[in-house]
């Protein structure tokens, strides 16, 4: 018998605090596997967001620093600028990255920092109990949009992968989902590619991952995963929006 599947070395053997069916767990694994496969674990610093993934350091077997809410790209910039030999990634939720952290992500992208952003879009603020996020879908009910997100009052969701792709400096921006083995494997490919670009000093890479938050969506894990591939994917098309990794 040979091992066909096991925990990547870049993750710790830990129980997470995530809810049943939460997408964060899968994404952790994909990042961990990518670091393993690129032999980056021992020279990586990851940046935990403020959000459900705040305890990243309890789950990752790499050095981790906790950022104030939304500021992970600024920390990443700081680390990379003084230690360009380190692999630096931020792991951020949609509230963290697209709401309070809009300035920091846009500017890290605008500067073309040689870092990798793992952006977990679960269409709400998970950690604080399910408020509207900048990515909450029109009509979606959250604790702060009790009658559903009304675009006339709450505005429209941000499509971050496209926004980042529209800037000059980033080399890679893509959106993936993690609803089934096939899409998860594809997501893994994109994440690994993003880290590969960083390893090759190509510049700023950004992967947006559509992810389930069953608890706050009031859905079972299975319903939630379906909603990702259904309602969310309809609003947030999957794909690679920019890839100049080869040309640079």
């Amino acid at each position: 018998m040979t091992v066909a599947f096991k925990k990547p070395e870049s993750l710790l053997d830990a129980k997470t605090i995530y809810c049943p069916g939460c997408g964060h767990g899968v994404i952790h694994r994909l990042v961990g596997e990518s670091l393993d496969e690129l032999s980056l674990r021992e020279k990586t610093v990851g940046i935990a967001p403020v959000g459900c993934a705040v305890l990243l350091y309890d789950y990752f077997n790499t050095d981790i620093i906790e950022a104030p809410h939304g500021r992970a790209p600024a920390l990443a910039t700081g680390i990379k600028r003084v230690r360009s030999d380190l692999t630096v990634f931020s792991y951020q939720g949609d509230g963290d990255l697209a709401s309070i952290g809009m300035g920091e992500i846009m500017h890290a992208a605008g500067r073309g920092e040689n870092i990798t952003i793992i952006f977990v879009n679960n269409a709400n603020y998970g950690m604080t109990g399910g408020q509207m996020a900048p990515t909450t879908l029109p009509g979606q009910i959250t604790t702060t949009t009790p009658k559903g997100r009304n675009t006339a009052i709450n505005g429209f969701p941000f499509k971050m992968a496209e926004l980042i792709a529209s800037l000059d400096a980033p080399v890679f921006s893509a959106r993936v989902k993690i609803t089934d083995p096939k899409s998860i494997n594809k997501a893994k490919k994109m994440i690994k590619y993003a880290f590969t670009l960083q390893k090759e000093n190509k510049g700023f890479s950004f992967v947006e991952i559509l992810s389930a938050c069953p608890t706050n969506w009031g859905k079972t894990p299975s319903e939630a995963v379906k909603w990702v591939g259904d309602a969310m994917e309809r609003y947030y098309p999957l794909g690679i929006f920019k890839d100049i990794g080869g040309d640079k």
């Binding site: 018998m1 040979t2 091992v3 066909a4 599947f5 096991k6 925990k7 993750l11 129980k15 997470t16 995530y18 809810c19 049943p20 069916g21 939460c22 997408g23 964060h24 767990g25 899968v26 694994r29 089934d180 083995p181 998860i184 494997n185 069953p214 079972t220 894990p221 299975s222 995963v225």
Partner: protein, 76 residues
């Protein structure tokens, strides 16, 4: 040796693996783990084709999977 090794203490009973298993060999146990979840068990390890679907969708790294070496398969 088993192909499907389940770390029952990590399972959160989300059921995603059960849905995705092509051989329908995963199911909820009637027992609860320390965290209070009725965890998943593999009811027919022999039938497992090690497609890894369960492990890939599982958010909690519950699965470790082993593939029989070619030799073993032959000896099946």
């Amino acid at each position: 040796m088993q192909k499907v090794v389940i770390d029952i203490q990590k399972c959160k009973s989300c059921g995603l693996c059960i849905e995705v298993c092509p051989k329908n060999i995963l199911n909820f146990s009637s027992k609860y783990n320390e965290a209070g979840y009725n965890y998943v068990e593999c009811i027919d390890d022999d039938s497992c084709i090690v497609c890894k679907s369960c492990a890939i969708v599982c958010p909690d790294l519950v699965f470790t999977l082993y593939k029989p070496d070619k030799q073993e398969v032959k000896n099946g």
